[in-house]
């Protein structure tokens, strides 16, 4: 295994962070400056949004189910099995719906964005686009980030809904509790600050997964092997950053809504 001096590694990390910051900043400004390629935005929305629907529905449903199973067992010990609905809905809406959807969509789309753009880089398609007078940042990057933000917002709502439904299914069919009570508790204890918390997060997560996927794709080097490396980096970094940023956002939002 090659020995890489620590200072060189640190410099590379700092350089990558600097490059990503510049890239993400430019991509963010492009969201508000014409030309915006609406057709590309719609195509990407279909790929990212509709294409991710099955995995989001399934992961949301079963996560809600697991939450109901685990919480019911613990809550029953205190005679509080009736609050399972409250527990599942609050956990899904405030936290798990957004994070889980972010990570699932990141696994599917940050990787596909990185590999698609990476392949375009190594086959000189990006250079060809620039040579034809078209800015790849606006044509390829901005629509993907824009679509990631918009679609993750709606996918999180879907995940929340199916998570609560999964919890209800477990509560009624496995725990043999009252469904009406479950939904009543789920609805009664869900307040606007909880919903705002849950719906602010996917905006950040969408931006992260879209920009990181594009960033690693656009800086691909080293042929097809490089495309593989870019894909792995995109998935790993976007997933880790989603969890890290979730911690920061939760901290800030809890302070705001306390």
């Amino acid at each position: 295994m090659a020995f890489i001096p620590i200072d060189r590694t640190v410099k590379q990390i700092v350089l990558t962070v600097q490059e990503y910051s510049l890239f993400a900043g430019r991509a963010f400004l492009n969201l508000f400056r014409p030309p915006i390629y609406w057709t590309d935005f719609l195509i990407q929305s279909d790929i990212i949004g509709f294409g991710s629907l099955p995995i989001v529905i399934l992961s949301g449903f079963f996560t809600g189910g697991v939450l109901a199973l685990q919480s019911s067992a613990t809550l029953s010990a205190f005679g509080a099995a009736a609050v399972t609905g409250q527990f599942v809905s609050l956990t899904m809406v405030r936290e798990l719906g957004a994070v889980l959807t972010g990570i699932m969509v990141s696994g599917r789309n940050a990787s596909s964005i990185a590999s698609e753009l990476g392949s375009m880089v190594v086959t000189e398609q990006i250079d060809a686009m620039r040579a034809l007078g078209v800015d790849p940042m606006r044509k390829l990057v901005t629509p993907r980030i824009f679509a990631s933000i918009a679609m993750l917002f709606f996918l999180t709502i879907v995940a929340d809904a199916f998570g609560i439904a999964g919890g209800a299914a477990v509560t009624v069919f496995l725990n043999h509790q009252d469904g009406t009570q479950y939904f009543h508790m789920a609805y009664e204890h869900l307040h606007y600050p909880d919903i705002i918390q849950g719906l602010v997060k996917p905006l950040f997560f969408g931006y992260l997964l879209g920009s990181i996927g594009c960033f690693y794709g656009m800086r691909t080097t080293g042929g097809t092997e490089g495309v593989g490396r870019a894909t792995i980096s995109a998935v790993v970094n976007s997933s880790v950053l989603i969890i890290a940023v979730d911690f920061l956002i939760t901290h800030v939002l809890l302070a705001i809504f306390a």
């Binding site: 375009m120 398609q125 686009m129 620039r130 034809l132 078209v134």
Partner: protein, 279 residues
Amino acid sequence: MNHAAASAPSSPAPEPDAGPVVALRGVSIAFDGPPVLKDITFSVAPAETRIVLGPAGVGKSVLLKLILGLLRPQNGSVLLFGEDISRMSEEKLFPLRSRAGMVFQEGALFDSLTVRDNVAYQLIQEHVPDEETDSRVREALSFVGLEETFGLYPPSLSGGMKRRVAIARALIHQPELILYDSPTGGLDPVTSTTIIELIVKQRDVHAAPALLVTHRLQDAFTLCNHRFDAEQNRMVPLPAGQTNPNTTFLMLEEGRLIFDGSLDELLHSQISFVREFLE
């Protein structure tokens, strides 16, 4: 520059007062390692076709990318259409680049678009009406002899067909400069000749300045001693001893420009690397 004594009058002569279309002054570039190009200086005059020779990995493709501003030099300046693009912002470069056409080594066609959309890429971005776009695409495809590929996708084309479509894409906008990056690399001799014929046709019919990168001497010599006969609609050899006066040569060795001159000067050069390359 002293061109060959016997020159064929097949191409229009450049305007005497016009400045160079491309000019490089002391250009150097390095990536993670030793310099790829060192102190490169040359220019391309209007209607001139310059052939860049050199072995693989000597920096020929990098040179073309520098000219279009796809890469930035560490030292020196690159003038494109009279404007210094060495430090120009990407946004300001796009309009300049769209005045030039580039044929990439492997074609660099967009896999997800049809041949029609690939060739019409610039026209689509400029919102040219569909009827006019279709008509111009068919005309460009007809120029490269591939009208039947209009609705096909690039993965279904052969290597040679991809290059020809890439040439059509580069030419559809009637560029003021054309850059060819090893257009015949990896192709069989028959397909290579077809591509060279297209380049000769473009040179002699439209007289747009061009820079062609190749390591195949045969292609370079064919370009120099053939002309396009519009009546026969094919490339024909020039009379013995004649060469195209607007087609000249550059040669790179280990990132340095070691030769700049006509075919005659190339053939009589005493530079040892040139002699070795020609043999």
